[in-house]
Amino acid sequence: MKKKKMHISQETMDVEMVRKVEQLSGTSVRRCFQCGKCSAGCPMATFMDHPPNRIVRLLQLGQWQRILAGRSIWYCVSCETCSTRCPNQVHLASIMDALRKLSWDQDGPSKESYVQLANKLFLQNIRTYGRQYELRLAAVFNVKSGQFLKDMMLGPKLFAKGKLKVFHQKNKNISEVEKIFSRIDEMRRKGEAL
């Protein structure tokens, strides 16, 4: 693989965004001294273009767009190993959440749309049914991602084992759940919440 040179310039610096990340995640990126323990323990580091410690370094340098253009944040599996092992209490797993949220809002240039699609459908299901509805989640994911046959072999087995329920779970609080979603939408429209 050809090694790309990384250009960091003041023009691409976005300190405002870094402040937002810190606010959302409740952690300070300035505490990081690049020991690399987060990347050493990360089970997903091999799949990432920027390993976790570099994500923090890029944030320290305000290079927000560079993170968004990469795929790392969509390969983080939220195992919390980085946050656990950081000697400086940088909660990197929460930083990843904040980055995904900001990227999600911007509908950023991430090409890792399968994870975004899965998250989106998961949340839609909660909004509609109040609880997760696994069969629908898997079916709609396959259709929308164009992988009609993905995990098809598992379907009949799961049915036979009683693990795949045909109907969604009944819940009297469905309207309460919808209200939570719409109140949050409203708060964001008014600029009261990030």
């Binding site: 959302l24 409740g26 089970p43 997903m44 390969y75 599996v77 939220s78 195992c79 919390e80 190993t81 946050s83 656990t84 909660h91 797993a93 959440d97 904040a98 995904r100 949220k101 999600w104 399968y114 994870v115 699609l117 899965a118 998250n119 998961f122 949340l123 909660i126 109040g130 609880r131 997760q132 696994e134 989640l137 898997a138 994911f141 993905k150 995990d151 072999m153 598992l154 087995k157 799961l158 084992k161 009683g162 693990k163 795949l164 329920k165 779970q169 819940n171 009297k172 609080n173 309460e176 759940v177 209200k179 939570i180 979603f181 109140r183 949050i184 708060m187 009261e192 919440a193 990030l194």
Partner: protein, 295 residues
């Protein structure tokens, strides 16, 4: 017998793909005299997808569940590692940040109840009920069975949040398995990630990570793996066959929920523990170890 009472939050998986975990949790608690009363009309905690892209939503869903739990007295009992993690995270974050607390109060249009204690079933068995008492209840000790206890991610991590056990060297699951007569093995991957919810969006990642977990348990000489999380179970059990064919290996490791093994040791009939729902059949192993009847 005991007089322990809890408000029970099963979570979505336990009412669907992990139904055997729900069944065995209830059976074990009934056998020990632990009363579980399900929280009426609980809602989804949002799990990983919600906090991944929308922390406020994630906190609000869990805060709503804490509010719903007010209808039932007692500490909150949770079997799912992910729900447990989300509820504890919510209490932790909202206890620290006044700003986020105000936003969540507005989102759920009511007060947030942070004082309720949320407990994972492992700590209810090991600490509230107690290992000594549990040992006295064993009818069929799991002798000769070698178990690899798999914690995965969310039961112990990060520091300060679940507060269930040590983040790097937990022992709570081993202590339960040994109390009911099993032998546990030290192994390398008991705290590594199985790939979790990437099972929907990125199966190859899950296959790779879960393969490493299975391989490590097999190499350590385990007969089976025991878990306390529906996602870990799904990845290791449901996907085990395809992992074997991809990596050309042959593990044949039954994956039990902790409550299924404890239930067997308590003498609960196997058919009431949902063993039939496991994709990797434990029948041969259990027959060999004389834990169930059969030729």
């Amino acid at each position: 017998m005991s007089n322990l009472k809890y408000s029970y939050y099963p979570g979505c998986s336990l009412h669907a793909s992990a139904t055997e975990y729900d069944i065995s949790t209830r059976e074990v608690c009934t056998a020990l005299g632990i009363e579980l009363q399900e929280i009426p009309d609980w809602i989804c905690c949002g799990a990983t997808p919600a906090h991944n892209v929308d922390e406020l939503l994630s906190l609000s869903l869990s805060a709503k569940n804490l509010e719903l739990a007010e209808q039932v007295p007692g500490d909150m009992a949770v079997s799912c590692a992910s729900c447990f993690s989300r509820l504890k995270f919510t209490q932790h974050i909202l206890g620290k940040s006044e700003t986020k607390l105000k936003l969540v109060e507005k989102a759920i249009d009511g007060p947030v109840h942070l004082e309720r204690r949320v407990k994972h079933l492992l700590e209810i068995l090991a600490r509230d009920y107690g290992l000594d008492k549990l040992a006295a209840d064993v009818r069929k000790p799991l002798s000769d069975i070698t178990v690899a206890c798999y914690y995965g991610c969310l039961l112990t991590r990060p520091t300060d949040v679940p507060n269930l056990d040590c983040t790097e060297a937990p022992t709570i699951m081993e202590s339960i398995v040994e109390t009911v007569g099993g032998t546990t093995v030290p192994w390398t991957h008991r705290l590594e990630c199985c790939g979790a919810n990437f099972t929907l969006s990125r199966p190859p990642v899950v296959q790779q990570l879960s393969n490493a977990v299975l391989e490590s348990a097999k190499n350590a000489g385990a007969d089976c793996i025991v878990v306390a999380c529906p996602l870990c179970h799904g990845n290791l059990d449901i996907r085990q066959k395809e992992i074997e064919s991809i990596y050309g290996s042959s593990y044949g490791l039954p994956i039990f929920y902790i409550t299924q093994l404890v239930g067997l040791a308590l003498g609960i009939p196997p058919e009431r523990l949902g063993l039939d729902s496991l994709c990797v059949s434990p029948q041969n192993l259990l027959k060999e170890k004389k834990l169930i009847q059969g030729a």
